[in-house]
Symmetry: C2
Subunit: 246 residues, 2 copies
């Protein structure tokens, strides 16, 4: 694995890498080894990039001693937008401007994104694993909205992911993959989510195949997830990512 | 306030009292004063009595230094059952035996129970307040199922309750009182609850008037609430009951 730059502050190293053309960031305790350490894959939301989860990543490192990694989703961050990506950005703006429901449209587009993103996440895991002397520690996934549209199909096929925080998503197109997720899940829902219909999000929670799955719903819209849910997600991951290295 | 007996172990005192004919138990750190200390009202489930929440009460004391109190609901524990209570116990057994839905029946009965129980809880709070030299500390409520059928109308009228853990309940008859609850709530729901239809429980969460309210749903039936939800309820109460005494 090739790191193109490194920066650090407060005991957290942040390194930039590229795997098969996909740029990412890896955070870990300064001077530490990756091997054996819990690793959290951070999926960013729509319109963001790998820098979106930086604050979350730094908390994973400073509070728990985990490593964390984020990559640009297809058409996001530094990556070239395809004609389809450009069309999506234009058309979603138009739909929002006239107050039309966008959830089916978003679901269709993100399903196409996820098809590209899942093998990219797996290639990044392979590269990190190859570089971690004693092998990777337990791997968690944490991503809402677009991060869930990608994370559910990822967790359905990737056995290295042992626990996941999902939410702010709900479309029937995700139900089949959700049924094949078997790891513990914490699922965040916003009761007045203007982008994801409540019924669809409840149905997606219901469709998850996991024996342990907790739905955490709170009032407010898509962007109003309370801060205490981040602390809850961290505790959830801490329960399921046994720490084998400090 | 007159205490009729006292026992203690592991630094937790447990005292029995009777207020207006309603027997209760008060737990607090051995040798401590009640005044200024967070106090948790523990509502028991149907068929239980004031001893039902004993383990929960002891954790409140040992882990957080709070006081905790439970009383027998009407027709429960040591209290005389009315003819109505007896009829209820017989008929619910018959309905369950033939697999008939019981939720409307339970709701009707528990609404009548709550009408009696709310003034009893308030009288107990008055008595505790009169006995606490510097006044009561912040008061929380924690009760599921029957404890919620009583707790929601209580929290709707009792300004001393500043936060509440509810759940395992859902009936339209509670919606009006729920709308008048304004304190932070954590609401527990079991996705396959055989006693409370999921839709009714979701609607009851939706009806709560609180600005801060979190729904925590998990798989399984009425009695399968995961242990980690107890720890979550404690953290929720700890966030909202500032400790003024140790």
């Amino acid at each position: 694995m090739h790191f193109t730059s490194e920066s650090g502050s407060d005991g957290v190293s942040e390194r930039r890498f590229v795997v098969d053309g996909v740029p990412g960031l890896l955070w870990q305790p300064d001077g530490s080894a990756l091997g054996g350490r819990p690793l959290v894959l951070l999926g960013h939301g729509g319109g963001q990039g790998k820098e979106g989860p930086r604050e979350r990543a730094r908390r994973c490192v400073t509070r728990f001693g985990w490593a964390a990694v984020a990559i640009d989703a297809p058409g996001h961050g530094e990556r070239t937008r395809t004609a389809q990506d450009e069309r999506f950005a234009t058309e979603i703006g138009e739909l929002l401007a006239v107050g039309r429901p966008i959830s089916a449209w978003v679901a269709r587009h993100t399903a196409a994104l996820a098809e590209r993103a899942v093998p990219e996440w797996r290639a990044v895991l392979d590269a990190l694993e190859a570089g971690a002397g004693e092998g990777l520690g337990p791997v968690g996934y944490w991503g809402l909205s677009l991060g869930t549209a990608i994370g559910i199909p990822l967790a359905a096929v990737e056995p290295r992911v042992v626990a996941a925080v999902f939410g702010l998503a709900g479309h029937a197109s995700l139900a089949e993959a959700a049924g094949r997720v078997s790891v513990p899940v914490e699922f965040v829902l916003q009761w007045e989510d203007e982008l994801q219909p409540r019924e669809a999000a409840l149905a997606l929670y219901g469709a998850l195949g996991s024996r342990e799955k907790s739905l955490h719903a709170n009032p407010g819209g898509h962007l109003a997830v309370p801060d205490f849910e981040s602390a809850s997600a961290e505790r959830f991951l801490a329960r399921h990512l046994p720490c084998g290295a400090r």
